[in-house]
Symmetry: C2
Subunit: 348 residues, 2 copies
DNA sequence: TTGAAAGCGCTAACAT
DNA sequence: ATGTTAGCGCTTTCAA
């Protein structure tokens, strides 16, 4: 009872140590303490040491809010991703943190949930929090860009990655989707498939558009014609992949392989093929994109394109820091992709 | 060239609209504007409408930093998880956001990477950012708790979840690990296995300790003796699971089934069994824990225990809000778990 | 090398 | 219903 009461009182009077406390304690002014703590300014070595010792003794902890308010900019960087639980995005985040953490910047992560309204709110929230920069990968829904422009107009450095809008003036980091798709399709061709279809997402999104281009290039280069009825758009989920393959194989002209712009769709394709008793890779070839963790665990293991997510995060963070240092950079950086051949496609 | 220069100048003179701008514009004081914007205080309807209109017109956006500094508390809640890319944790995060977003609180997410030092730094960073509360799931490494205590001593509401320390005074939300493990083991017994082993993590961590207890209870209840040489600790990764099963089956006394405290270990076990040509579930039964997405995709599909991660997030956020409203609550909430029977264990 | 003073933008007593 | 005033904790000129 008594203990409990004491505990409550403690909470009430809880006061954080400020630079003023340190200053009073040491008989100097807050300015001096501030300078000493900041390190680089002109303070006598003795004073600096005294301040450092005292601040440790009292358990001082900077009030980042006050500092940011005064300096007009916070050491926080906002990051908006469609979904945090996608392997690709969580690994990009890790890459970003790898670079940012040692610099003292703080990452504020939010999900748009592939939803434009949530994405807009997220941007505003970040701006209200005075983030020093915004890292974003657009939601599939995003077709209007005022919220992005709002950030840029505020002078907040912006870095787009993966799902980008090329028309927005900002740093951009993307995967080499074209080459990845090109290699994937080439591989199917080399493996002897002739009627190669493509299941993809929204072609207006850069990532999917490029994958389509890579697919088309490989086809035409090998003298194969694309049968447009083998190209399914908005087919990136497992269900959609399943439906698409069931559908495609009902037609008179059937594909004998399909390159999916995502592993989940490829998974659905494999579901459908298994159900229909079609042997993979003997009778049908499948390639995915993303190298989701499950792709090497399923049966047959899935040939797919590896995106170097962590590396992308590192580049994104580096670009952000450059931007914040005023080195505005509009260049597009491209991260290489790599084909991983597994059982679902190779009948060498 | 010219365009570029203009752009730079724009950035320099970029000035955010403050309540003072609105006030001047309207011929009232900042206090009035502040009150009007805050909504509930006593301001004439007319003034309020004027303020709202003007602020919209000028594109006003609150400076959260200033507000938080003044109010002494920010609308930000910090969350520390071991790894963001674990299915369980990212779903808890989604659950937390589900509750928090509509309330206007902002989530600051950080990863400890299962590393004590990073976890400590994360806590300090959150405190420096004056978060209104901290949500944490401890790293496996965490054996010292001063950093947690530091937060509590500062009067910052704390909610622990999943990987908790029961001795720390805070709200806690955990899975019903005991029942999950109990049901899993019971199921193996019912399926006819007799020599049931258990691969687990650090037993000092609540989650693993409880799973062991559930396993032990089911065994003793059925009159089966636990063979301690079938219990492997620190076995939660795929590699560890593989090594453990290879090892276990070299001994004279072999288990004929194993309940793993995690799906990754179970995956490793299946790897090992496949390699050794042991048939699952005919000759050997395997059950995991967590219902990772891959568990239903592998062959054979893995029997496992589902944790309701999203629901847990919802409860965690609710507890946090209660705490921040001063309703300090030390109760432990338990989220139910559920056995999902698949092919790796059932030979009914 | 240090101090004095002003102010970042907002809120909340207290007054009117 | 609105204005006045002070100050959250920090940084940063300007002066000494």
């Amino acid at each position: 009872m008594c203990k409990r009461l004491y505990f409550c009182i403690q909470i009430e009077k809880m006061k954080r140590i400020t630079i003023n406390d340190i200053a009073k304690n040491l008989g100097v002014t807050a300015s001096t303490v501030s300078r000493a703590l900041a390190g680089n300014t002109r303070v006598s070595l003795r004073t600096r040491e005294l301040v450092l010792a005292k601040s440790k003794e009292l358990g001082y902890q900077q009030n980042v809010l006050a500092s940011s308010l005064r300096k007009g900019t916070s050491g926080t960087i906002g990051m908006i991703v469609p979904r945090i639980n996608r392997h690709f995005f969580s690994n990009v985040i890790s890459g970003v943190e790898e670079i940012l953490n040692p610099t003292g910047y703080t990452l504020l992560i939010t999900q748009s949930g592939e939803n434009l309204a949530k994405e807009q709110k997220a941007v505003d929230m970040l701006l209200a929090n005075h983030v020093g920069g915004i890292i974003i990968s657009l939601s599939v829904q995003t077709q209007s860009y005022e919220h992005i422009q709002r950030a840029i107009d505020r002078g907040v450095p912006l870095v787009q990655f993966d799902r980008i809008n090329p028309d927005i003036k900002s740093s951009k980091v993307i995967n080499d989707n074209f080459t990845g798709a090109y290699l994937a399709t080439k591989h199917l061709i080399k493996s002897g498939y002739k009627e190669i279809g493509h299941f993809t997402g929204t072609l207006s999104l850069n990532a999917y558009g490029e994958r389509y281009r890579g697919y088309a290039k490989a086809m035409s280069e090998s003298g194969l014609k694309i049968n447009e009825s083998f190209v399914y758009k908005d087919t990136i989920t497992r269900e959609a992949g399943y439906n698409a393959i069931v559908n495609a194989l009902k037609e008179e002209n059937k594909p004998d392989a399909v390159f999916c712009a995502g592993d989940y769709a490829a998974l659905g394709v494999l579901d459908g093929l298994k159900e229909m008793g079609i042997k993979v890779p003997d009778e049908f070839g499948v390639v995915g994109f993303a190298n989701e963790p499950f792709s090497e665990l399923i049966h047959p293991t899935l040939t797919t394109v590896e995106q170097n997510a962590f590396e992308m995060g590192v580049r994104v963070a580096t670009a952000m820091i450059k931007n914040m240092e005023g080195k505005y950079d509009q260049e597009i950086e491209t991260i290489s992709t790599r084909l991983i051949v597994r059982d679902s496609s190779w009948r060498g």
